[in-house]
Amino acid sequence: MRHPADPDDPEHPAAPGVRPYLRNTGTGARYQPAPPSAPPPGPPPGEQTTSLRPFVLTSGRVDGLDPNIGLETQVSSHPGALSARLSPEQRAIVHLCGEPLSVAEISARLRMHLGVTRILVGDLRAAGHLDVHVLENDFPDPETIMRVIRGLRSIS
């Protein structure tokens, strides 16, 4: 009788022709080599993502961003945009923007990459489903800054 718990014990050598780890030790997971007719393996290493790759959502585009669509740019959806035929991601954006929302917030709430969000927002604007409220001047005017200062001072 061999000792199943200690296959390497020289006193009880393993059965010839059977590698120790292949011997049935009764309990526990047992290594089983994949049979030749095994189903095709999963995606290769590095591709094991459960979600779509970002470039799939943007139809392969990685640039061509409108520089006017910044992180803080406010976006609001058009009434009626929800009845349009849209991809799930675009639909989610339209859904979210019933109230004006910043691009960064859309990205965070939908857990979508910032770059992808900006491209999709640009697409939706071009299709007339979104209003993107672009500011005219690059740097805020003194009056606006004064309002921010007063607003912050009132925070306790």
């Binding site: 803080e72 960064a104 800054i145 912050l152």
Partner: protein, 209 residues
């Protein structure tokens, strides 16, 4: 201004936004950047004053990071995801302040151009034990002409060096304010941001005249 290129779409009454026919005019967004190295208290700073708990958005880091954030030879990876925290403060219904916390290292500079566009200014958060983390951010903001303030985060009220020593170490111009603040306290963060806004106001006045 509410330009509507598809006025007839409004007729589709069933798909109205929940708040009825009166669509909310979007607030004017302004932003301040909170920059600094890992672990200096950027997220704490944003969280201390934001009315929402800081949200995180992700951006791809592209070739800029290759060689710095080496994922190893076995990996075919050419991009790395970085996270950026942000929060906001509603000043009033027509004005909203956004705060973006961004890593301060050179390899994240690809996103600074986007961040800086239209920004009021920046608060560079410094931990005096790792002061060199913020050099790239300081360099960048100086070159971009963005008003910025160096905020020395006093962990537990301790300041390892006095502000003159920090100024010497950073070699910033004399007109760049260096303040000490505690990122955990709203009032302290507010005061630091007010210094940034003072700088922004100076710039706006100069631009006007």
């Amino acid at each position: 201004m509410d330009f509507d290129p598809y006025p007839d779409r409004r007729v589709v009454g069933t798909a109205r936004v929940p708040n009825g026919p009166q669509r909310t005019a979007p607030p004017v967004p302004v932003k301040i950047i909170v920059a600094g190295g890992f672990g200096v208290g950027k997220t704490t700073t944003v969280g201390a004053i934001s009315e929402i708990s800081p949200l995180t958005t992700e951006a791809e880091m592209t070739m800029e990071g290759v060689g710095v954030d080496d994922p190893g030879q076995a990996s075919g990876k050419t991009t790395t995801t970085i996270a950026m925290d942000f929060g906001c403060v509603t000043i009033d219904q027509t004005l909203k302040l956004y705060l973006f916390g961004t890593p301060g290292q050179t390899r994240f500079a690809f996103m600074w151009d986007d961040l800086v566009r239209g920004a009021l200014g920046a608060l560079v958060v410094v931990d005096t034990t790792r002061i060199d983390d913020c050099y790239p951010a300081v360099d960048y903001f100086e070159r971009a002409g963005l008003p910025f303030v160096v905020g020395v985060n006093t962990f537990n009220g301790q300041l390892g060096y006095n502000l003159d020593e920090v100024r010497w170490a950073l070699a910033v111009r004399d007109d760049v304010p260096i303040v000490q603040f505690d990122a955990r306290f709203r009032g302290s963060v507010r005061d630091a941001l007010l210094v940034v806004l003072d700088q922004a106001l100076d710039k706006a006045m100069k631009m006007r005249s």
